[in-house]
């Protein structure tokens, strides 16, 4: 008997703009002891689905049935559900920094879970908490029970969260993006821990993630969601190797790992659907590469195959080798030097009232060179100083020591006027497409801002320039008068790129430009960046933590750790023959989704109409 069986779950959330169809007719079964993965882009309804089942979303309308150990979760009273949560079903959330209470010791927070469900003495509860902490890999657990959350690192905190979820030995753990907020190396450890706990304690895990590589490495069975609809479900191995739905297929192909360096990435055109308006036909049809007339008219049937995979589609996904983009001509070798950074260091001095001043070395002597027309990747975990280095190179933060030389100009020793002129030559594109655009200004004004600041184009001429830039980055120039909130994440990143390109810079620094975007959108933006580089002869400094993206985009890679560049070499050299241990750890920790291949013809078991 499956541990969890959801049948035809539909979730509607009433909002001011109308009713949000967060899930429609989603069914799945989770076998005891397995690791069940739910994958999908943001807004696909994957988190809402699990939270609604657990009764954590009051105010939503939910239908269907969801049997857990034979009882329907959706028919339970809030009190029954409360008794179940924590005791039988544990939950691990995305952000370990905000899901632990900063005022209480972790021991108290874990024992609170025990006391809430069982009558035990405090000593016994503490002993059990310590035992569980030891199990999740926290050394000297008994002594650390009285530590506060801020005394643990992010990865350790996620371990504490897992211990808290496991301490009552539930039969099911729901982990909602458990590794998204963590660094790559820590991600690998946490996923390994979840997998180990599942084998050791016989716990079933439902893991929600947007990271297909991670999912492919651990999951037994995977469900792919899109726009609140289950598009495909099946055993992980078969599903990733030979997807039966064009969407899954497109997602895997869109990963930078699936394309050769320098070639155009396969991308899914368009943007995720609005959950407010449910199309009558296939929800993926507007973006589907294999769309047929029938897809626009009729709701697709659920196709169940003999291999265990089920896909909601009129057809079986085909692989067209022909549509693979031809390899572009190799870039001409970089010629002259554009940027040279020599022994740059940055030290923050923190004065703490009456105490002695403390010094914090963020950058400890960085030396690097970038040639005109090349792309240099800067890789490292959070806190290694890569973003700070970008700001020093852009001249936004003065370096404490060392020299940044940009095309013969010393960036550190500029007059205010020369500094302003320098802005036209070096530009930054920020990570967060939501935070880097002023929410209260129109897109036309945002992209036209550089012209205004530097007094370059006025009135109609500026408007035309803005239109040209919008066209260049693939935005509709008619959307000139819209506010940033009316655009999706990918479109906002295009606006940010258009703004950076307005003044024809020589060097563009991308600070994690795609890490906030979904895979299908990420491919579009990466393609745009490559296209622009070729068209305009730009030099890129590309900062990222995602190794497959860096590998796809960059000519050379610099690996940073703790304020130093520990290794710098041509991309393939780094990936094939890493010299440093740290680089090797980074490479090992990154999960790359498998590249899908054409499967042998499947046997169709049955067709279920009206499943959507």
């Amino acid at each position: 008997m499956p541990l969890l069986e959801a049948r035809n779950i539909s979730i509607r959330i009433p909002t001011e703009d109308g009713i949000l169809h967060a899930a429609r007719n989603v069914s799945f079964t989770v076998e005891a002891g397995s690791l069940f993965g739910i994958a999908g882009e943001s807004g696909s309804g994957k988190s809402v689905l699990t939270q609604a089942i657990m009764g954590l979303l009051p105010g939503v309308e939910i239908e269907g049935e969801c049997l857990f150990e034979g009882r329907d979760l959706l028919k339970m009273t809030p009190a029954e559900l409360r008794a179940l949560r924590g005791a039988r079903i544990g939950m691990v959330f995305q952000d370990p920094l905000s899901s632990l209470h900063p005022y209480y010791t972790i021991g108290r927070q874990i024992t609170e879970v025990i006391h809430a469900h069982e009558k035990v003495s405090n000593t016994e509860a503490r002993a059990r908490a310590a035992e569980m902490l030891e199990k999740v890999g926290i050394k000297d657990a008994a002594a650390r029970l009285d530590d506060y959350p801020h005394q643990f690192s992010g990865g350790m905190r996620q371990r504490v969260m897992i211990a808290m979820a496991l301490v009552l030995r539930p039969s099911l753990i729901i982990a909602d993006e458990p590794t998204t907020a963590l660094d790559v190396t820590v991600q690998a450890q946490i996923v390994a821990l979840l997998d180990e706990m599942r084998r050791e304690l016989g716990i079933t895990v439902i893991m929600i993630t947007h990271d297909l590589g991670l999912m492919a490495s651990v999951a037994d069975k995977v469900m792919i969601m899109y726009g609140g609809t289950r598009l495909e479900i099946g055993p992980a191995k078969g599903l990733f190797a030979a997807p039966a739905h064009p969407y899954t297929f497109g997602l895997l192909r869109a990963s930078p790992a699936a394309a050769r360096q320098g070639t155009e990435l396969y991308s899914i055109p368009g943007r995720p659907p609005s959950l407010l308006a449910r199309p009558k036909a296939c929800i993926f049809a507007p973006r589907c590469a294999q769309v047929q007339p029938i897809c626009q008219i009729e709701a697709p049937p659920n196709r169940a195959y003999a291999c265990g995979t089920e896909a909601l589609c009129h057809f079986e996904a085909r692989i067209d080798r022909a549509d693979t983009a031809p390899a572009q001509p190799a870039r001409k070798p970089p010629t002259d030097r554009l940027l040279s950074v020599q022994d740059v260091a940055l030290t923050y001095t923190m004065s703490s009232g009456f105490g002695a001043k403390r010094q914090l070395d963020v950058l400890k002597g960085i030396t690097l060179e970038v040639a005109r027309g090349e792309t240099l990747g800067l890789v490292g975990e959070s806190g290694c100083g890569k973003s700070t280095l970008a700001r020093v190179i852009a001249g936004l933060v003065p370096a404490t020591r060392g020299k940044v030389d940009f095309d013969g100009i010393d960036v550190g020793a500029l007059t205010p006027k020369a500094w302003r002129d320098m802005r036209r030559r070096v530009q930054l594109v920020f990570q967060d497409p939501f935070g880097s655009l002023n929410p209260r200004r129109r897109v036309g004004a945002i992209i036209g801002e550089p012209f205004r600041i530097h007094g370059l184009a006025k009135g109609e001429a500026r408007k035309n320039e803005v239109r040209r830039l919008m066209e260049l980055v693939g935005l509709n120039p008619e959307h000139y008068n819209r506010f940033p909130s009316e655009f999706s994440g990918g479109q906002r990143q295009r606006i940010g790129i258009a703004r950076a390109l307005a003044l024809n810079p020589d060097l563009v620094i991308f600070d994690e430009p795609v890490s906030a975007l979904d895979v299908s959108i990420q491919a579009q933006i990466l393609n745009l960046m490559q296209e622009l580089q070729q068209k305009l002869g730009l030099t890129y400094l590309f900062i990222s933590h995602d190794l497959s993206v860096v590998r796809h985009m960059c000519d050379r890679i610099a690996v940073m750790n703790a304020g130093r560049i520990i290794e710098m070499d041509a991309t393939e050299q780094i990936f094939q023959h890493p010299q440093q241990d740290y680089t090797r750890t980074l490479l090992d920790a990154s999960h790359v989704p498998p590249v899908p291949v054409q499967a042998q013809p499947r046997e169709l078991l049955r067709l279920e109409q009206g499943a959507a």
Partner: protein, 317 residues
């Protein structure tokens, strides 16, 4: 599935002004407050009309009709709708003219105070460092000055006047909004879009006016609205103590003071009740409207009520 359910509803993209208006309309309390304020404004503007209609001037004393033979004021009757005061003046007409003073002082003082508060708060928050320290301590200093003592001292030096009371009110009320704006600016100044503007070469003034100020519109609107009733009460307090509007110019605080001065309110309740109600009603209305605006303008606080009738199932079968 039936046809009607399959047809996707049209998604309406609403502008933020439109959304704010819709949310405000859904809140009966703020709607009532807004209607009351509009009526109050009409009442104040129409004060001369009331004077003409009743045939009573605001400061003229009608000793024959407004006072009883023993010299006591007459209560509400067909000639004096809200009664007459101890000097035989029409309370209705005086309240109408008093509304002009109250609204003028309230709005002018609130606008001036929010202008000063926003300027100083933004400067402190944006530049930080020693500028922040100096301006922050200045705000602390102003907050620690006792309001009434200071007002008494100033009036005894300069003599009471309308301008002096506005100045005193402004001086004591800009700090609240100043602090709020300082904190907001400090957090906005660290946002990426400000960094982006800086990296494009924008100057400080341009960043403050073009990038930060528009994002402060919500707190500015809310706090300015909330400051109006405070200023009205301040003005009434000053007038009550004889430090504000000079008699015989009517003002609500002054009317209350006169009613209390010779215990006339013991026989003439209307002298306290009507000016008191006007004061209470207008401060309450502005406060409720301010609260309503805060809810309506806050994009995070989108409360959505559950629909009363259960939804139809999406699928049959």
């Amino acid at each position: 599935m039936s046809e009607a359910q399959l047809d996707a509803p049209k998604v309406v993209q609403r502008s933020s002004a439109n959304l704010t208006f819709r949310r405000l309309m859904r809140d009966p309390a703020s709607l009532l407050a807004a209607v009351f304020i509009l009526a109050l404004v009409a009442f104040a503007i129409g004060a001369p009309w009331f004077a003409g209609w009743t045939g009573h001037d605001a400061i003229e004393q009608y000793r024959d009709t407004g006072l009883s033979p023993v010299g006591l004021p007459v209560g509400p009757n067909h000639e004096f709708l809200l009664g007459a005061d101890q000097l035989g003046r029409d309370v209705l007409v005086r309240i109408a003219y008093g509304a002009r003073i109250s609204l003028a002082v309230g709005v002018a003082a609130a606008l001036a105070a929010s202008f000063i508060g926003v300027t100083i708060g933004m400067t402190a928050g944006y530049f930080g460092g020693w500028i922040d320290t100096v301006l922050g301590r200045l705000m602390d200093l102003v907050m620690s000055v006792p309001f009434l003592l200071c007002a008494l001292a100033l009036v005894s030096v300069f003599g009471p006047s309308l301008w002096l009371s506005i100045c005193v009110i402004v001086f004591f009320s800009w700090t609240t909004i100043g602090r709020v704006i300082r904190a907001e600016t400090a957090s906005l100044a660290r946002r990426d879009f400000v960094q982006a503007s800086r990296s494009l070469g924008a100057g400080n003034l341009s960043i403050m006016l073009r990038d930060i100020l528009p994002n402060l519109s919500v707190p500015i609107i809310i706090y300015t609205t909330m400051m109006i009733p405070n200023s009205i009460v301040f003005e009434a307090t000053l007038s009550f103590l004889g430090l504000g509007i000079v008699p015989p110019t009517p003002s609500w605080g002054g009317m209350l003071a006169e009613a209390g001065a010779n215990s006339i309110y013991l026989v003439a309740w209307w002298l306290v009740l009507f000016p008191g109600l006007a004061l209470l009603g207008s401060t309450l209305a502005f406060n409720i409207l301010g609260d309503g605006l805060r809810d309506a303008l806050d994009p995070k606080g989108r409360r959505v009520k559950r629909r009363r009738k259960p939804a139809k199932p999406v699928t049959e079968g």
